[in-house]
Symmetry: D2
Subunit: 341 residues, 4 copies
C-alpha cells in the first residue's frame, strides 16, 4: 500500500497529553503527513497551543467522536482499555495505531491476567500487529489495519535481548533494571509524588515485583525476566541496564556480531562500540543505542540500552509504523540526532 | 543571490563545542544544506560522533586550515578574537558567519573598550552585517559577505525592547534581568563552578555590573540599559525579564500593537496574548516568544521574552541568516516547535 | 520571659506540608523544644512518617482542634485566612506563630485590598508583632502573644533594602526580580504546572504585575517597589536580584557600611565581600547572604540576596522568633551552614 | 575509652573537597567536637569559606604537614594511595580515619590487584578496623587507632545483603544496580563529562564490568556479586537496587525478620515496611533505609537500599566511627532526618 501524492491525514486522540503532543510536534516536521484532528474531551473550545504552548499551530481541540473521524491514520493516546472500546468503529474509517496495551498481546489470557480487565474485542487480537519494526516482519506492519505500539520500557529491554535469546546465548533469567524519565508517568497525575519538588534530586523504584510490562518483554524475548522500573529525575529517556546470565564462554564480540546481523540496515538501532551510551545522547531522537560487555567472573553479559521514551518509546515508533504502513521509508520525518546539551 | 539546485556546502569551525554541534545537528535536518567540514584542533583523527555521540554521522574531525576550506558558508564557533584573525583569508573562499562578537559592533571604540582587545581588521566592520534578521534590513543580510551573529542575551533583550524604544515609549533605563541555561558557558570549562554538583539546585548572578553584552543591547535599542545575567539550573534557554519605565499612560495594548507591526510576517517572533511564556516552550525551537503588561502603580512595563540560547540565540539564528543569504525562505530547516517535556 | 528547665512544647498545624514538615525536622534538632502535636485533617490515623518519610519519628497525625491544643507555641502552616479564624481561641491556650499573611500588616485596608478578604479579627492586628527579627525591635517579639511570620520573598527583598531606604540612599523605585525554588508553591498543588516534567529545565515568571507580596515589602522598606517573582527549577531557595536607583555618588562601600551597622551582631545576615552569593550556599541554613555593587553608568545599585525559602524564609525564621519569645539565644537549634553539594 | 570534659579536636585533610567540607559542616553541629585544622595544599592563605561559602566559619586553610598535626582525630579525605603514605606518621600523633580504600581490605592481594598499586604499609592492615559500625564489632572500632571508612556504594550494598548471606538465604550471584548522585565523582573533575550541561537530564553507567568496589562488597557479603554503578542527575544519594536469587520458598517476612535481628537498636538502619524508599528521604541524614519483596515467578528477592553518599556513605559514617572511638553515643551530632524537599 504505497502512499500517493497528497498528504497523509492524521487524527490524534488525546492530543494534550505528552505522547499526543509529541506525535503532533514530530508530524509538523514530517514532509508527507498532516495532523487534521486533535481531540481532547477536557479542553474543547481551546486551541492546542493553549494547552501545549510549545507547538506553533492554530489547530483547534475537538471532542472525540469515533463516528466522525475522517483520517488515514488515527493515533490513540489513552490509557489501556480505551482502544478496545473504540477500535471496531474506528477501523471502519481509518487505520489505527494504539499507544496503549490493548492490542500488544498475542495471548488473551496474559493481557487479562496482568491488566486485570476483560478484553472487549478479542477477535481483533489476530488482526492487530505488534509494532516493533526492528523485531517483527515489516510486511505485516505494512498491511496492518491496527497496530499495538509498544512502549518505552519494553522496546528498550527487547531490542538488545531478543536477538541474544534467539541465538541461544541466555543461560538464566535476565535482570532488567530500567530507569525512566518522569514524563513516562504522563501529564495528568495529581498525586504529589510527581511534583517537581518531590522528584527533583530524587530517585525511586516502583512496581518492583509484578510490573505489567514484564509479560510483554517476555513475549518478545521468549523467556522469563526480572524487571524493575525506576523514576529518575529527568523529563525524558529510558536507560535499561540488563544483567543476563550467558552460556559459558560467551564473548563481547559474539554479542555484537549477533546484534549486527539482527539490525543491519536498521537506522534506528545503533551499536556503540566504545564506552557506554548515556541517555541524553538519544533524547529527541528515534534511535535506540546499545552496548554490551561480558563479566567472566560472574558469567553475566552486562548490557545497556537507551532511548527517548517519548520518541522511540512512543510517538516516534508510532510514526515509524505509520511510515511503513504508508509505504514510506521508515525514517521519513523522524530525527536521528539527539538534542544536546 | 539565489541558491541553485545543488546543496549548500557548509564548514563548521569548532564543531565539538555546543554551538558547533548544534549547527551540525540542525543542518542534518536541513533539506538544502550539507556539512562537509567539521574542524576541531583538539580532536584530530576522531570522528565527530566520538565527541558528540548524539549526532548520527560518520563525519571526521579535521584541523582548522583557513586556506583550504572549500565551502559556501563557514560558521565560526570560537571565542571573540578568533574571527578577526581569520576572516580576511576565509572571505576569499566563502561567506562567513561569526558566532562571536568581533563583527557585531558598528563602533570600533565600543568593541575595543568592552572586549579589551585591539581589532585586527577594523576595515571589515563596514562590510559586516549584524545578523538579527527581525531587526535589520534582510536585503543587507542577503548580500553580506560576513555576518556578526548576535548571541542569546542580546537577542532576547533586543527583540522586545527595540520596537518600543523606536516608538518613543521608553521613559528611563530598562532593567534587564536575564536568566540563562548553563550551556551558555560552553563545553570547555574546567572551573568547578560549572560542575553538575555545583550548579544543580543552584542559581547565581555574574557579571552583575559591566557585562560586555550591555553595549550590544544598547546598540540595538538605542538607550542605556541595566543588564544582569544569571546562570540557572537548566541546560538550555534564556528568560529575559525586563522592567522598562514607560511614558505615562502607556497601555499593554499599545505595546502589543507596536510589536505586531514590527514583527508581522516574522514566524520566529511570537507574541503571547495570554499568560507568560515559560522557557521550555521554546527549547529546541528557533522562536522567541514574548509577552508584556503594564504596572501603573510604578510606571513600568513588565516584559518577558524567552528563547533557546542554542537555537534562536546562536545556531538557529545563524542558519536563519544563511537561509536569507542563500535566497531561501528564512524558516528552511529550522524547527518552530519546542521539545516538551 | 526566660525559658525554664523543661522543654518547650510545640504544636504544628498542617504538619504534612513543606513548611510544617520543615518546622518539625528542624525542631527535632533543637535542644530545648519538642513537637508534641502534629495536625493534618486529611491524614488522620496515619503517622507523620507515612506522609513525610524523611522524618524519623513515631509522631501521630491528629485532627486540628483549637480548643484542645496544649502547647507553649503553636505554628500555623496554612493558607492566608486560616489564622484569623482560629487565633482568638488559640491565643487563650498558647502563643501563636502564623506562617501566612493574616497578621503581617499594620494597615487593615492594605491586607483587605491585596488579599481580597475581610479580616475577621482586626482588633488583633495591634497585638500581633511582625516577626522579622533583624528589622523589628526584638523586645516586641519577646513579649508577643501572636507573630505574623514573614515569608521568603519579603524577607529576601526587605533585609537588603530596608536599611538603605532608611539611610536615604534610594532615589527611585527599586526593581526586585526574585527567583524561587518550586517548593514555594507548596505540596498540595494538583495543577500540571508543578509537575516535575513541566518544571524541570524550565523557568517562568508569575504574578508579574500585582503580586500580593508587593505591599508587604513596601511596608518594610517604606517606598514603592516593582516586584516580580519567578519559579526556577530547584526545590529550595530564593535569589533576589535588586536594581535600586540610588542618589548620585553612592558607593559600594557606603552600602556595606550601612549594612554592617544594621546587622552587626546578627548571625543570620551575612555580608559577602567578594563575588556574588549563590542560592545553594544557604540551602539548609537560616542565613541570608547578601552583596552589592554600584553601576555608575546607569545610577543603580545592584544587590543580590539569597536565602532558603523553607528556612530563613519560613520555618527557620519562625523558630528564630520562638527562640526570642522563649528567652533563648535566637540561634538555638538553627543551622548556620548550608548543605552542599 | 570515654571522652572527658574538653572538646574533641579534629583535623580534616582535604577540607575543600565534598567529603572534607561535609565533615566540617556536620562537626560544626556536633556538641563535643571541634574542627581545629583544615588543610588544602592548593588553597593556602585562603579561608575555608572562600572555597566553601556554605560553611559559616573563619577557619583558615593550611598546608598538610603530617608532622605538625595536633588533634585527637584526623580525617583523611583524599584519593586511594594517600593514607598509606602518611598513616605511620599520623598514627603517632592521633587516631586516623581514612575515607579512601587503603585500609579497608583484610587481604592485601585483593587491594593490590584491584587498586593496581603496591601497598606501602601492609603491616598496618592488621591494626586497621573496617568502619562499618552496623556490620563489625563496635568494640573493635572503639579501640582502633586507624579506621578504613567504607564508601557509599559498599555501605548501600552490604547493609541489606550481609545479614541475608549470613542467614544462608542467597542462592546465586546478587545483581547490584547502584545509582549515585554526581557528587560521588568529587569536586576536582575537569573532564567535561561532569559539567552541569552534560549530566543534567542524563544518566549513564560506568565501570560496568570490574569496578573496584566489587571486591569490597564481596568481602562484606561473603560471595561474588555483579555490581554496576551509574551516575544519575542528582547531587547526592545512592539508590541500590539488588536482585538476589534466594533459596526456594523464601518470603518477604523472613527477610525482614533477619534484618530486624541484625539491626535491632541501630538507629541508622531503618526498615521500611510499606512502599519503597526514595533517595531523597535520606538526603542530609545518616540513615540507610531499606525494603524488600520476593518475586516467586523468578526466584529473586528484590531489595532497595538508599543512603546519602555524603553522610552515611562518607562523612556521617566517619563521624559515627569517631563517636564510637571517643566513647560517645554513635548518634551524637548526626542528623536522623532527611532534608525535603
Amino acid at each position: 500500500m504505497k502512499h500517493g501524492g497528497s498528504k497523509i491525514n492524521v487524527a490524534v486522540v488525546g492530543a494534550t497529553g505528552y505522547v499526543g503532543g509529541e506525535i503532533i510536534r514530530l508530524l509538523q516536521g514530517h514532509p508527507l503527513a498532516e495532523v487534521k484532528v486533535a481531540t481532547s474531551n477536557r479542553n474543547q473550545g481551546l486551541r492546542l497551543r493553549d494547552k501545549c504552548p510549545w507547538i506553533a499551530t492554530e489547530l483547534a481541540l475537538t471532542p472525540f467522536d469515533p463516528g466522525s473521524i475522517d483520517a488515514d491514520f488515527v493515533f490513540l493516546c489513552q490509557e489501556a482499555g480505551f482502544a478496545m472500546q473504540h477500535a471496531p468503529a474506528l477501523m471502519r474509517r481509518c487505520r489505527v495505531i494504539d499507544m496503549a496495551a490493548d492490542f500488544r498481546f498475542k495471548d488473551l489470557a496474559v493481557y487479562e491476567a496482568w491488566y486485570k480487565k476483560r478484553h472487549l474485542c478479542p477477535e481483533l487480537l489476530g488482526r492487530a500487529v505488534y509494532g516493533l519494526p526492528e523485531l517483527v516482519d515489516c510486511s505485516e506492519i505494512a498491511d496492518a489495519p491496527l497496530i499495538g505500539n509498544p512502549g518505552c520500557y519494553v522496546t528498550a529491554a527487547s531490542l538488545p535481548l531478543a536477538p541474544l535469546a534467539k541465538a541461544g546465548l541466555l543461560a538464566g533469567v535476565p535482570v532488567i533494571d530500567a530507569k525512566s524519565g518522569v514524563s513516562g508517568a504522563g501529564r495528568s497525575k495529581t498525586d504529589p509524588d510527581y511534583l517537581y519538588s518531590e522528584m527533583t534530586a530524587n530517585l525511586k523504584a516502583y512496581g518492583v515485583v509484578g510490573h505489567r510490562h514484564t509479560p510483554e518483554i517476555e513475549q518478545n524475548v521468549g523467556c522469563r525476566v526480572r524487571f524493575t522500573p525506576h523514576l529518575v529525575p529527568m523529563a525524558r529517556g529510558i536507560h535499561a541496564t540488563i544483567q543476563a546470565p550467558v552460556v559459558e564462554g560467551t564473548t563481547r564480540e559474539q554479542i555484537y556480531e549477533i546484534w549486527r546481523k539482527a539490525y543491519e540496515g536498521r537506522p534506528f538501532v545503533s551499536l556503540q562500540e566504545e564506552g557506554w551510551p548515556s541517555v541524553k545522547q538519544v533524547v529527541g531522537s528515534n534511535r535506540c543505542d546499545m552496548a554490551a560487555d561480558v563479566d567472566p567472573r560472574t558469567g553475566f553479559a552486562a548490557i545497556v540500552s537507551v532511548l527517548d521514551n517519548m520518541v522511540k518509546g512512543a510517538a516516534g515508533q508510532a510514526i515509524q509504523n505509520m511510515n511503513i504502513m504508508a509505504g514510506l521509508p521508515e525514517t521519513t520525518g523522524l530525527p536521528l540526532n539527539g538534542v544536546w546539551p
